[in-house]
Symmetry: C2
Subunit: 206 residues, 2 copies
């Protein structure tokens, strides 16, 4: 990691590079050029080289990049090795589905606890996790060393829950509610607004 100010887009692509390299490595491919990798991903070769150049001189002129070495370097940059602990707050249908979703594990995320405020759910096991009361966030987030919360409560409860999350010491929130969370800059927020994604799509097909 040589330089600062790495664009967020670059980080996102890095993860895609990782996936392709992993796949290529399993297939026995030893070397790959920026052109070949770019073609797989339908982007430009110069984009690949520029992205990688933020982190040093990772390739060999004339022959390209060593697949496994580059894969490991990216894993290192992204911290894929380390496991991050995640909780899910809001055990409606979406929250429950995400609690069962297997795609997270592969990238080193572990769902360590789930929360809701309904009396019916608190104390019961949902998708293999005991459901805790949202008012216990304060206690459990620090105790279990949880960094990231997935927020899937109803829109009306979004802001108050986000504030409880901030008070609990959470570092980041993946927000599935269609509400702009107003927290201090200390908490990194990323929004997944499903209805909005659909609407954007539907605009562009008319």
């Amino acid at each position: 990691m040589l330089k600062r100010n790495i664009p967020e887009k670059t980080i996102q692509r890095l993860l895609l590079y990782y996936r392709y390299l992993n796949f290529l490595g399993q297939q026995g491919t030893k070397n790959i050029s920026s052109k070949s990798l770019a073609d797989l991903m339908e982007i430009r070769d110069s984009q690949v080289r520029k992205d990688l150049s933020y982190f040093g001189r990772l390739g060999k002129r004339g022959s390209g990049y060593d697949v496994m070495a580059l894969r490991d370097k990216i894993a290192d940059i992204l911290g894929i090795a380390g496991e991050s602990k995640v909780c899910i707050v809001g055990m409606g249908s979406l929250g429950s589905a995400l609690a069962a979703y297997k795609g997270f594990g592969a990238l080193g995320f572990k769902i360590v606890s789930v929360f809701d405020n309904s009396k019916q759910k608190v104390g019961r096991k949902i998708r293999g996790h005991i459901c805790h009361d949202i008012d216990k966030l304060n206690k459990i987030v620090p105790r279990d060393d949880i960094d990231i919360a997935i927020l899937t409560v109803p829109a009306e409860a979004a802001n108050e829950t986000a504030i409880k999350l901030e008070q609990s010491g959470i570092k980041a929130i993946l927000n599935f509610t269609p509400v702009k969370l107003s927290l201090s800059k200390k908490v990194k927020i990323s929004n997944v607004d499903l209805a909005m994604e659909l609407k954007t799509l539907s605009f562009f097909i008319r």
Copy 2:
């Protein structure tokens, strides 16, 4: 709609404007300046004005924008009035959750059918929808006039299913699989990669 080449980002913000205007209207606010609206959304006033200017002269100098009129204009631009029909392909935990998710209805989306290829699911009712075999896409998509598919099959099946979708005449796909779908440009694709969102977050909190 006066000009072409409207940035995708603008369309996304337009939907946010719509939400805020709707809320303000319900509260009885009659007028709003670009500054006030921008402050609510934590963006710049010039951004609001630039976005709106793509679609004509929507405000009044000196007093700002008429909340309800602007809301309706945006609804018109985005086609919020019209209902779009959506299907969900892949009835695993995520697909089932989305089939039950209520957030879509508010923006004029209706889930009209769901698909899977497992013998256990086909023919049974899931979240109120009869589950069809994926091989019936060809028949049902045109029959029910479905524009958009939500793709929630396992990664291994993503590409073959996407091809079936394209053949069925679908116009857009909201892709939840971590796979780059390779279809012709005719099908508009938007990707929601949950593990990736989490990974990006986790990079920025270290």
